[in-house]
């Protein structure tokens, strides 16, 4: 087992901070690098690490590539970061991979898009109650002002009631457990640290691509050396990459669609069928109970059941359709057509550490109640070491690509449907049944991207190093 330097790693990667239900993400722009570096130096002492024993006011910090440049990191040092991070979430090719079209087009984003102000860094704070959040916010806002940091956008995130997102489903049940991080997990979820933290070996047993200083600058001796032995200084060690996307959920549209597709012959509402269809699309019931263990009805309550596989229990998709969101995003032992053991191993190369919070009205929808007053949605976040092989792979190859497994025209019903597909394009959801398949035709998009960016979350030492540039 690889020994992790946990006191160097930012805490949000390993801990979900559920004990801090209130959170604020400040998206900031550096207006005066000198002052910002003074701020960085002082804040670097306050960053919550994995081992931090602090009981409130958790704080974590990430940088965009433009942010590193604004702080004065030399262009050829920035060049050693992975290209996905350097280019950011908005490029023509990435738009295709991520499926950000129509209403989700970056041109329409509230932040992070080409029409929005540049984001340089993101400061995330987490608090136990609103009072503390107010105090902390006030104090930070003053510090931003004094230190030449302009607030570009602020995102308020909260944990969900019973961990259920607005469509009504219990979320974040299945998560990877980083080997050596102190978080225990199922065997199928235990993943080598190099999939999430730079400087350690990944599931291929090699070191992930880490940014090395090509040109020494700042107080570089404080940085560790390249684990591959090149002799260069490594800014990446104990750091990770964070993907953030603000996803608006059209709760009303979603349930109206399902209610319509599952109505009785006389046109009346069939709540049971509608909920079942929703569960088929999700792969879990609203309670979180997985379909492969509870195929017929929701056992109710709240479920964290996660110890299940697909091959032996549901090879034909009769319980959980192949196109269901959770079966696509984590196919477990049923990856494409490979055998169960190999599948489990392959799936481990495409996992992300999800860190999701909700925004907008506290509202849990169902077939009979689905009209929140405010805009609601989630702040989707995830950590990974290789954005292209993890987040982007899952979003494109597993969610958006309609030919997933043996399917013909089935995008992920939650996050893969195109709002305005090319004329003639079929978007369907296939439900395998005992005798013949059932098809839900004319899928609609109920999730809209409102903003997004890729961030580098350095080690605590590397944050301090950035203040010495």
């Amino acid at each position: 087992m690889q020994e992790l330097e946990l006191s160097e790693i930012q805490g949000f990667l390993v801990r979900d901070y559920k004990e801090m239900p209130f959170s604020k993400y400040f998206l900031l722009q550096v207006k005066a690098a000198d002052k910002a570096k003074i701020f960085l130096k002082s804040i670097s002492k306050k960053i919550t690490s994995v081992t931090d024993k602090k009981e409130s006011s958790f704080l974590n910090l990430g940088f965009t590539s433009a942010g590193l440049a604004a702080l004065g990191l030399q262009p050829n040092n920035i060049q050693s970061f992975i290209r996905e991070f350097r280019e950011g979430m908005v490029t023509p090719h990435r738009q295709r991979l991520l499926g950000d079209y129509d209403s989700s087009d970056p041109q329409n984003w509230l932040w992070g898009g080409p029409k929005n102000e540049a984001i340089h860094l993101m400061l995330m704070i987490f608090e136990a109650n609103e009072e503390k959040m107010k105090e902390h916010t006030q104090q930070l806002v003053e510090e931003f002002y004094v230190n030449g940091l302009q607030q570009v956008h602020i995102l308020d995130g909260e944990t969900f009631p019973d961990d259920r997102e607005h469509f009504g489903f219990r979320d974040s049940i299945s998560q990877p457990a980083i080997v050596g991080s102190g978080v225990a997990g199922l065997k199928l979820d235990s993943i080598e640290p190099g999939e999430f933290v730079l400087g350690y070996k990944n599931e291929y047993n090699v070191y992930p691509d880490t940014p090395l200083l090509r040109e020494n600058q700042g107080n570089f001796p404080m940085l560790p050396n390249d684990p591959d032995g090149s002799g260069k200084k490594d800014i990446g060690r104990n750091g990770t990459y964070f993907v953030l996307r603000q996803l608006k959920e059209d709760v009303d549209g979603f349930w109206n669609f399902l209610n319509d597709k599952s109505k009785n012959d006389d046109g009346s509402l069939n709540t049971e069928e509608s909920t079942k269809l929703a569960a088929k699309m999700m792969g879990r019931w609203p309670s979180g109970a997985p379909l492969v263990l509870h195929p017929d009805k929701d056992p109710g309550g709240l479920s964290d059941e996660n110890d299940f596989l697909y091959t032996d229990t549901d090879k034909l998709g009769l319980k959980c359709p192949f196109g269901a969101h959770t079966r696509r995003a984590n196919p477990r032992d049923n990856f494409e057509e490979t055998g169960p053991d190999e599948s489990l191993h392959l799936t481990k190369k495409h996992r992300i550490m999800r860190r999701v919070r909700s925004y907008g009205e506290k509202y849990t929808a169902s077939a009979t109640q689905h009209t929140p007053v405010d805009e609601v949605g989630l702040l989707f976040g995830c950590f990974n070491a290789d954005i292209s092989r993890q987040f982007e792979f899952i979003q494109y190859t597993w969610a958006n690509y309609p030919k997933f497994k043996q399917l013909y025209a089935d995008p992920d019903p939650f996050i893969g449907v195109r709002e305005n597909p090319e004329p003639g394009t079929v978007q369907q959801f296939t439900i395998p049944q005992e005798t013949h398949n059932k098809y839900i035709d004319g899928l609609k998009s109920f999730v809209t991207v409102k903003g997004g960016a890729y961030f580098f979350f350095p080690s605590l030492t590397a944050v301090e190093y950035l203040s010495t540039l």
Binding site: S80, R83, Y204, V206, D209, L316, E337, P402, K403, H436
Partner: protein, 387 residues
């Protein structure tokens, strides 16, 4: 008429590409200075001379315009179907190894079988089938299809290739008998060649951004993508014999074993081709595949790393290998960087069926054939899950 329409008009062309090959297309120093060349590669039905005749008939002006700048192309006064054909014949290069995802299926068959699948799917979806068994449903579907003259062709099943087990056993025996020689050969390659290799230690972040962006500009526009790679062979007889032997091995496996839509376990490749050119000094690799570059390359490593390592380690600057079959592709980061770094731009690319994955094509033929069969209830249920 646009290029796509012309290609469609041929009616026998699955995929095609044109690209420009120059000295600087190769990431390594070429074996000798190369003239600038225009390369055409296609996947088609029927004999090659018919294909060539089709190309020059459907495209005469286009061909002239394109090939006019090439050496030896007939002078304007001399241009006719025959001279154009013999020009193409003259410059034809032999393929060293070639893989077909759906062997034996013509373009016409692929299109027809997809229409059949769509037709049956719509019938399934329009009916309630309450209380009907899968056998009864299959029977009714067959009757519907039979009643439609448009699907008269579907009445006869189409044979598909099956694994040639006797051939595979024979191959295994030959390998077993030759194993002492093979082992000694591998040791020689390891101790006298691999240890002296210079290897690729690049990471993806260090690649030329402009090149990668230009490649990405043409990617993920459809369900399929293409890959064109050009490589310089390592010098010497030992490497050449190694690669020739592996190509023979690959051809044998492709012809007898990989006939069900998977190449070394990879279920997304429509066509793949290896070509040794310039007196075996350079290698070209082309493929047409489903999904993203990233998925394709992950499949390479995860499913067929040993095979690719063995073949491509005979080209210069491949990531470090050990005993021909290990290391190399399994060195994930460096292998990905090597793959992207040796890929070149393809100026023209054509695909006849953007809406079909190779899995779809293989499945459609199974649908056509199983529709005809007397299936058990269980088999009929599986048949109905193919839609």
């Amino acid at each position: 008429m646009g290029l796509n329409e012309r290609f469609n008009q041929l009616g026998t062309l699955h995929y095609a590409r044109w690209f420009i090959l120059r000295d600087d297309s190769f990431r390594d120093k070429t074996a000798f200075p190369l003239p600038e060349r225009l390369v055409f590669s296609s996947n088609f039905d029927g004999p090659v001379d018919e294909h060539i005749a089709g190309l020059v008939t459907v495209f005469p002006e286009y061909f002239d315009e394109l090939y006019e700048c090439c050496e030896d192309y007939p002078e304007p006064a001399n241009r006719n179907t025959e001279t154009r054909k013999s020009y193409l014949e003259k410059w034809k290069v032999n393929t060293t190894a070639f893989y077909v995802g759906a062997p034996g299926r013509s373009l016409k068959q692929i299109k027809q079988e997809d229409q059949l699948r769509e037709y049956i799917r719509s019938i399934i979806n329009q009916n309630k089938w309450d209380g009907k068994s899968a056998i009864e449903i299959q029977k009714q579907l067959r009757e519907k299809v039979d009643a439609d003259p448009e699907f008269a062709w579907a009445k006869s099943p189409e044979a598909t290739a099956s694994i040639n087990w006797p051939g595979m056993i024979l191959m295994s025996l030959v390998i077993l008998i030759l194993s002492p020689v093979i082992i000694i050969w591998i040791l020689i390659v390891h101790f006298f060649y691999e240890r002296r290799d210079t290897n690729c230690y690049d990471k993806r972040s260090q690649l030329n951004d402009d090149l990668v962006r230009r490649l990405e500009t043409d990617e993920d526009l459809f369900n399929q993508n293409q890959f064109t790679q050009v490589l310089v062979m390592k010098p010497g007889k030992v490497r050449l014999i190694t690669v020739q032997a592996l190509m023979l091995f690959a051809r044998t496996l492709i012809g007898n074993f990989f006939v069900k839509g998977k190449l070394m376990g990879i279920p997304t490749i429509h066509f793949a081709r290896w070509v040794l050119i310039d007196n075996n000094k350079h290698m070209m690799f082309f493929s047409n595949f489903d999904g993203s570059w990233n998925q394709y390359l992950c499949d390479f490593i995860d499913k067929s790393g040993w095979g690719l390592t063995a073949i491509f380690s005979n080209t210069k600057n491949f990531p470090k290998t050990n005993f021909v079959f290990t290391g190399g592709a399994y060195d994930e980061e460096h292998f990905l960087a090597w793959s992207r770094g040796t890929q070149i731009l393809t100026q023209v690319w054509y695909c006849a069926y953007h809406h079909l994955s190779i899995k779809n094509i293989v499945n459609n033929t199974l649908i056509r054939n199983e529709l005809r069969k007397n299936l058990s209830e269980k088999q009929a249920q599986l048949f109905l899950k193919r839609f």
